[in-house]
């Protein structure tokens, strides 16, 4: 290589301008917050929200719809990334609105750190979404995880929160180790870390199958841990339950979008050639998750814990969309299957945000309201918010006319199209079991008399947003076409 060829190339920064903006603003807010007095903390909140809106504008404006690489092929910008990032900003904006009242009532959390950590976590997810290199994936994931560990432990006098943070950290570190080990094996087998190059070498047959599959097992384990599917789900109930509800809301929503992107980048973009191997693994994980998630959720009395198990089962269901992309080496159904999974994740995030938001709405005066009994007789206290919560529950259960039905519908049609009839039957059987505990929440709200008759007090912005969230679940259930075709279109342009 001559000296002339080794010249330093300036990477195309425009492609990653949203990430750069986010990084600058997160640092600025972190430092700026030190100068803000407690009573003026609203300033930090406003700045954070403006940052997210700014990032959304940048992402939207710089979206070309073409797939382009920068930073020596470590970073990819494509339509799927743009769509997921826009949804990510929206989710985080909603989360911050929902959590604001909760945080203000807890002196240890009422600092600027919650906001700057949220921004760093968002940055981590953005990097994950746009990663086209194994190291980029890892960097994004770690940035997200470390921010989340800190957020869980934020209410530092709370014993359950501290315990949850410890568990999350130790198990999370283990999973990162697994993932990293798997990545190193894949590097050993193919000789490259760039995801498109991995795909190319696999396609050409230039790889060591034994080492590759060995690494794949570790990679899938690491991914399964981050997705929270059985048997790598142990942390989910404890972390969801122990973390302050505002943080649970964060963990239960936005990272699912990033995790979906990570699965797409690693398994579909990178390792599609060995899809038979990872699909077989994921089928087992998926069925186990639906089984254990739905059955264990029945026994819970704490709503956050119940939703944790429900999250496990939903991620299992979403994986069904991923495993049906390639049938016997035939990738005809890939777009259909992956866009169904994407639609599923997005609607899950929408519904999950509403559900945890409702727990935050009821939590007033520094108290939690995360027991199922706290929802007793909600219909008498507030018919409208009981109706919103009911829509969330029916949506999660997959009953029409709510969006959750079409999420299940599109994944199931992908499963049936792939010829896995038995898998579809297993999936609906566990959905039926799952229906029981969602119906129980409706029962508690509607059939039981209230124990607490005080009217619901919440800031107006939260009430409006909560109502909008409920209406979105209903309206997307009646008109799912737009979001469905958006998912399909973005994947069509990206795959």
């Amino acid at each position: 290589m001559t000296l002339a060829e080794m010249q330093f190339q300036v990477p195309d920064l425009r492609l990653a301008s949203a990430e750069i903006f986010m990084l600058l603003m997160a640092c600025l807010i972190l430092v700026g917050d030190l100068l803000v007095k407690d009573e003026k903390r609203t300033l930090t909140f406003v700045a954070t929200q403006l940052t997210l809106i700014g990032a959304a504008v940048i992402t939207f404006a710089s979206s070309s719809g073409e797939t382009a690489y920068t930073f020596s092929n470590m970073y990819v910008g494509d339509l799927m990334a743009d769509l997921l990032k826009l949804l990510l900003y929206l989710t985080v904006i909603v989360i911050l609105f929902y959590s604001r009242g909760y945080i203000l009532e807890r002196p240890q959390m009422a600092r600027g750190e919650y906001y700057s950590l949220a921004l760093f976590a968002t940055l981590g997810m953005m990097v994950m979404i746009s990663a086209s290199h194994l190291v980029t994936v890892y960097i994004g994931l770690e940035l997200l995880s470390l921010s989340l560990y800190a957020m869980v432990a934020m209410n530092r006098d709370s014993v359950p929160a501290t315990e949850a943070a410890m568990k999350y950290f130790v198990l999370g570190a283990l999973a990162s180790g697994l993932l990293l080990y798997g990545m190193s094996m894949i590097y050993g087998a193919t000789g490259t870390l760039e995801i498109p190059a991995i795909a190319e070498r696999l396609y050409m047959g230039q790889f060591d199958k034994g080492i590759l599959v060995f690494g794949l097992v570790f990679l899938v384990s690491g991914l399964a841990f981050k997705l929270g599917v059985v048997p790598f789900h142990m942390w989910i109930p404890d972390v969801y339950h122990g973390a302050p509800t505002a943080v649970t809301l964060f963990i239960a929503t936005a990272p699912k979008l990033a995790a979906f992107a990570m699965v797409m980048r690693l398994l579909v973009n990178g390792l599609i050639v060995v899809s038979q191997d990872w699909q077989a693994m994921l089928i087992i994980l998926s069925v186990l998750s639906m089984a254990i998630g739905n059955i264990a959720a029945i026994a819970q009395t704490n709503l956050k814990r119940m939703l944790a198990y429900s999250a496990i089962s939903h991620m299992g269901f979403m994986l069904l969309g991923i495993v049906t992309g390639v049938v016997g080496g035939d990738a005809r159904f890939a777009l259909n299957a992956y866009s169904s999974a994407m639609f599923y994740v997005i609607t899950y995030v929408l519904t999950s945000a509403g559900t945890f938001g409702m727990i935050l709405l009821l939590a007033r005066g520094g108290l939690e309201s995360d027991e199922l009994d706290d929802f007793k007789g909600l219909n008498r206290r507030s018919p409208w918010f009981a109706a919103v919560m009911m829509m969330m529950m029916f949506s999660m259960a997959g009953i029409p006319f709510f969006v959750g039905f079409f999420a299940k519908f599109s994944v199931l049609q992908a499963v049936v199209a792939a010829g896995h009839l038995w898998l579809a039957i297993v999936a609906v059987a566990f959905s039926l079991i799952g229906c029981f505990y969602y119906l129980r929440v409706v029962k508690i709200m509607y059939f039981d008399p209230p124990t607490n008759t005080s009217p619901i007090e919440a800031p107006l912005d939260m009430k409006i947003l909560m109502s909008a969230n409920g209406l979105a679940v209903a309206l997307l259930g009646i008109f799912p076409q737009v979001l469905m075709s958006l998912c399909a279109f973005s994947l069509l342009r990206s795959l």
Partner: protein
């Protein structure tokens, strides 16, 4: 009227009315909520009248068709239409909604707006089921209609309402989930169509037909309900408020039977012939065994619930004889049962509102204190027993006639129920109404008021009118039923 989307109006007028009623909020506005609900229900009924007056008797094709793309991603269409089989149910359902709103007028005094809105929304969803010609649209209405009834049973029901509501919801959902897989399978194997009419024409191999038939059977048998998956119905009926029981018996049970005609028979005709024996056997068990079960009931609502299962046995029996007389008889029986069972549950509700008991043993000599009521109750009890000149007779008679042509012993077994049916209904009537005044509760009963009188008259017009002059009901069915049977007779195996 050709340009008016009548079926859309039949679906969305009640649903929108329900949402408006919901908006009236707390019980302070209960009178307003009641008035609005009645207006909504009557408006919902009025928009369905042109379906009958404008109906073309001479074509088996779908009429009043509306076709708009709904979810192009999966080729799902907002495709509505009715033929001679489904049209009458849309009208019946809208009619029943009016009676339900009237039936709950004074009795329901807590959360009035939610109660009435539940029934109005339910009415729209049920109309949607009967007029959907797209598999997904059908399924969406079919499942969504579970939600209002679940809430109605759970909020306004009796002491064991939670158990009954869960059992109702999970049983029916169990059936419909397999149905969903069958729909998806048809979607894939038809090359991407959810149109029920396309599926009717599509050739399907015998193995696939058998599996489809069984999936449909599970879904619809639970809904009908057929023995042995009927156990949710008595619980649901006993716990539901009067209005809930009326809708459940008059309309919700018809969904399963309607499903057989719209899905099982035309989509899997060969499997239907092959497995007709199974369905006939299950129907006969329902007719005879459940008839005897009804005989020993001590709770009036349970008794009528079991008698409903027996009557629906006639319906499924009529379908699987594959003769025009049988299918039309079954359809007549379905509509008649809508009037009669609705009226029976309303009668029991009238007594329950006054004496707060449904046990036969708590009554006796009701005729002494409620003579007008006793007269109406007599009429509907007779209709339930299948007395000639009431609607109950026409359907059963037609089915039995068809059964004689098919197989004498099947007909014999089915006809025996005329005796059992008369026995349990009239025996109950005798114990409740006749005799001397049994206790001071009965002595204090007051006769029906004007509102209750009106509801009884509405039901009586239906039951008697259909019994004396069934022609207007049967003539609209002819061409559709003939076409259906012609279609079912053709093999789909290639």
């Amino acid at each position: 009227m050709s340009g008016t989307p009548l079926l859309s109006l039949a679906i969305w007028v009640p649903i929108l009315a329900g949402l408006v009623v919901l908006a009236t909020g707390s019980d302070r506005n209960a009178p307003l909520a009641r008035a609005l609900s009645l207006i909504g229900a009557v408006a919902g009924l009025l928009v369905t009248i042109p379906l009958y007056t404008g109906f073309d008797l001479h074509t088996p094709a779908m009429q009043f068709v509306e076709l708009k793309p709904w979810i192009p991603r999966f080729n799902v269409n907002y495709h509505l239409g009715v033929d001679g089989i489904s049209m009458l149910f849309v009208i019946l359902n809208s009619f029943i909604t009016v009676t339900v709103i009237l039936a709950g007028w004074q009795v329901i005094d807590s959360k009035v707006a939610q109660y009435n809105a539940g029934f109005l929304i339910m009415s729209g969803l049920l109309n949607g089921i009967f007029s959907a010609l797209d598999g997904v649209l059908f399924y969406v209405f079919f499942e969504a209609s579970l939600i209002p009834l679940y809430l109605i049973i759970g909020i306004w029901g009796g002491p064991n309402r939670v158990y009954a509501a869960f059992k109702f919801f999970l049983f029916t959902l169990f059936g419909s989930l397999l149905f969903l897989i069958a729909l998806l399978y048809l979607f894939i194997s038809s090359g991407g169509s959810f149109s029920i009419l396309d599926w009717h024409r599509m050739p399907i191999g015998m193995t696939a037909q058998t599996w489809l038939f069984l999936a449909f059977l599970v879904a619809f048998a639970v809904k009908v309900p057929m023995w042995p998956v009927h156990t949710w119905l008595p619980d649901a009926h006993v716990e539901a408020p009067t209005g809930g029981s009326i809708v459940l018996a008059a309309i919700a049970l018809k969904l399963g039977a309607y499903g057989f005609l719209r899905f099982s028979l035309p989509i899997a005709p060969d499997a239907s012939h092959e497995l007709a024996g199974l369905v006939i056997a299950l129907s006969l068990i329902a007719i005879i065994y459940i008839g005897f079960v009804a005989l020993v009931q001590e709770d009036m609502k349970k008794l009528v619930a079991y008698s409903s299962i027996a009557h629906m046995g006639f319906v499924t029996l009529g379908f699987f004889i594959f003769s025009p007389l049988g299918v039309e008889g079954a359809l007549v029986q379905m509509i008649s049962h809508g009037f009669v069972s609705g009226a029976m549950f309303f009668s029991i509700g009238v007594m329950y509102d006054r004496a707060h008991s449904r046990l036969i043993a708590d009554y006796g000599g009701v005729v002494n204190t409620m003579p007008k009521f006793a007269a109406f109750f007599m009429l509907f009890a007779m209709a339930n027993a299948g007395l000639p000149a009431t609607s109950g007779f026409v359907g059963e008679f037609m089915v039995i006639l068809a059964a004689v042509e098919h197989n004498f012993w099947v007909a014999f077994a089915a006809a025996s129920t005329m005796i059992v049916g008369a026995a349990y209904t009239l025996w109950m009537y005798k114990r409740v109404v006749f005799g001397s005044v049994a206790n001071h509760h009965v002595a204090e009963l007051s006769d029906i008021n004007g509102r209750e009188f009106l509801v009884f008259v509405l039901f009586a017009i239906g039951a008697l009118g259909m019994g004396l002059y069934p022609q207007p009901f049967t003539e609209v069915m002819h061409s559709s039923v003939d076409e259906l049977l012609r279609h079912v007779a053709l093999s789909k195996i290639q």
